[in-house]
């Protein structure tokens, strides 16, 4: 029997798990009961002396401000796709297209007939 990769891949796909997971309702009901049990079993929180508590509270507030700033700068949590803001092509070419592709909104720069010859500056 011959084994081209597409045949092997077809057989691997048959190993997909479709029937073994527990029913969602049963699972989450069980989960709820166990989570409640764990909450009851977890130890009581340790109370810090008030003076350390204030230092820690101030440090946490500062950290929250810093992380909010970092989070905003990093751009996570915003909606929409990736974007190409500007481009500069350093060689001869016929045309360039910038598109937004797919429902995931990938950003695509496609350069037609790009020539690795004499340089030519063209900028968006």
């Amino acid at each position: 029997m011959k084994w081209p990769w597409n045949k092997i891949e077809r057989e691997l796909k048959r190993e997909a798990l479709v029937t073994m997971a527990r029913d969602a309702r049963a699972f989450w009901t069980d989960f709820d009961a166990r989570a409640r049990l764990r909450r009851q079993e977890s130890p009581a929180p340790v109370k810090l002396p008030l003076i350390y508590g204030w230092s820690l509270a101030t440090a946490c507030a500062t950290l929250l401000l810093v992380m909010t700033g970092v989070y905003m700068i990093s751009g996570r949590g915003e909606t929409g796709g990736s974007t190409i803001n500007s481009f500069d092509i350093g060689v001869n070419y016929r045309a360039a297209i910038v598109t937004q592709g797919g429902d995931r909104q990938a950003a695509i720069l496609w350069v037609m007939d790009m020539d690795a010859g004499a340089p030519q500056k063209e900028t968006l």
């Binding site: 101030t58 500062t62 092509i89 950003a107 695509i108 720069l109 340089p119």
Partner: protein, 137 residues
């Protein structure tokens, strides 16, 4: 005095941790788009649909080389296949320069969402075109 020292130590530790936690990873993949060969899309599972839908005139995509950089990028270069790629900045405003040999090919500034690719295509290759795929996580 002791409390001030404790406060400073906690703050310094948390600021360091927050800086470390802010980073991510930029993966860079060099793909050959062609119409020949079996063109197995190994290594391209997360982007193959986008490539097939948006790369004009080619049906086969093969991963040639890959690399990664931590974000924010510090302006150093890495080699991915036959290209030198310099990246600078964070994923919201990332500058990318692509060169081959001593030839500067293109410079791009882009904003990357987690897991959503930025793709540069049309670089010449033997069998078709080279495509560079950038994904931030």
């Amino acid at each position: 005095m002791k409390n001030a020292a404790l406060f400073t130590a906690i703050l310094a530790g948390m600021l360091t941790a927050s800086t470390a936690m802010a980073g991510g990873t930029l993966s860079i993949r060099l793909v050959e788009a062609s119409n020949s060969g079996s063109g197995g899309a190994a290594g391209l599972g997360d982007v193959i649909d986008v490539l097939k839908s948006n790369v004009p005139g080619y049906s086969q995509f093969t991963l040639i080389a890959s690399g990664s950089k931590s974000l924010p990028a510090d302006g150093s270069s890495i080699v991915v296949g036959k290209y030198q790629i310099m990246c600078k900045g964070n994923q919201k405003e990332l500058s990318i320069e692509v060169s081959s040999g001593h030839k500067h090919l293109l410079s791009v500034t882009a904003s990357l969402r987690d897991g959503i690719p930025v793709i540069f295509g049309g670089l010449p290759s033997d069998k078709g075109k080279h495509v560079l795929v950038f994904v931030a996580q």
